[in-house]
Amino acid sequence: MKLRNRFLLATLVGLVLAGGVHIAAILAAPHFAQQDAFEKILPTLSAEQAQIISAPGGGNTWLPLPDPSVAVAACAFDLEDGPSRISAKTGAPFLSFSFHTKTDGVFFAVTDRAAVRGDLEIVIMTARQLDEARAAEDENDPSRDVRVVAPERRGFVIVRVAAPTPSLRAQAEEAAKAVSCTVDEEP
């Protein structure tokens, strides 16, 4: 083969491999991200209450494009220690939970419309913990927990509480901070 043809072949091989490198880099990016929301929320793992990450009013926050009319709080969970129970008292303003993992994105979200008598409570568990909970359940007195299976062991919950007017900001922040994230003891 002539040198020129070999050069063209090498270029072609390079381009095809570049496609592979591109795909691999995109797929790997969430796994290796150091500055993503998960890494920033992870230090709050041991907290029993949600921690404010963006106070209403848009003060200092790492959250990109914060909405000044919404209080955002977060708590991290690790299902290794047992199912995680997220619970909030709901009031008039909008309140929502969304459940995220590092690499699998959002897996569940719920708003205060799903609250029962002013209580919104979700239990996150692994598929195995769900099986165990079902097996341990009393048939005559089934649990009323809303159970959600997480695709990954570790993740975080984002709590958003709206403050439709500036005067409600303090109240929204209090409501977001009052959300509890506790670990259910294994039976």
Binding site: A10, T11, H22, I26, D36, W62, F94, S98, T165
Partner: protein, 222 residues
């Protein structure tokens, strides 16, 4: 040639190295195939990583929805998000609104497709799709909330002054205006984000451009 340069270099540094490495042991024969393989690998690495970096800097390339001046990625906050969306969310450190929570739409241009400039005056109105609460927020070119005389960079559906027929108009200008006024940053481009919280039905379905507010450029002055 490069290789001679390397050889010369290595022999020049030889005294600094451990005595067990003897430059005389390195023998070299010009081999175009080896050179081409190295070239192909370098090309693959450079182009692959470069293109990945370039894509991650921008908006997600697929799954976008354009409604007049507004742009949104309805799947960004769902389990169906594609790998580009996930990588971009991770890179930005963003927490997208989940599909069940609401929908966020960004405008960087006016209705005629001209970039939003803080030197101009704009009118936004007059309807939004049904939602329990919406917020409309200004961000400067760096994504920060602009400082303003009234300490206000956003309006919510509860705060806005409405006309008798329930429509509204928001004026974006650098100087004080009557009615719903948001002050633009002193200079540079800006963007507007409309967030619809708790939309009826699943967010991202049944969206028509006619239900969204229009961004109209009123004029540009000094």
């Amino acid at each position: 040639m490069d290789h001679h340069a390397i050889l010369t270099d290595s022999s020049a540094r030889a005294p600094a190295r451990a005595t067990s490495i003897r430059p005389a042991a390195v023998s070299f024969r010009f081999n175009p195939t080896a050179l081409l393989i190295v070239y192909a690998f370098l090309l693959a690495l450079g182009l692959g990583l470069g293109s990945a970096y370039w894509v991650l800097k921008g908006d997600p390339p697929f799954g976008g929805l354009r409604l007049g001046p507004w742009e949104t990625w309805p799947k960004l906050g769902s389990a169906d998000a594609d790998p580009y969306m996930r990588a971009i969310v991770a890179k930005r450190g963003q927490v997208p609104l989940a599909t069940g929570e609401g929908l966020s739409l960004t405008a960087k241009t006016d209705n005629e497709g001209r970039r939003l400039e803080s030197g101009c005056t704009y009118r936004i109105g007059s309807v939004t799709p049904p939602a329990r609460l919406w917020t409309l927020t200004l961000y400067d070119g760096d994504g920060r909330l602009p400082a303003s005389d009234l300490g206000r960079a956003s309006f919510t559906s509860s705060e806005i002054l409405r006309n008798q027929d329930d429509t509204f108009t928001i004026t974006l200008a650098r100087t004080l205006s009557a009615g719903n006024w948001l002050q633009l940053p002193p200079n540079g481009p800006f963007s507007v984000v409309l967030r619809l919280y708790d939309m009826p039905g699943a967010a991202g379905t049944n969206l028509v451009a006619g239900n969204f507010p229009v961004i109209e450029r009123v004029g540009c002055g000094s």
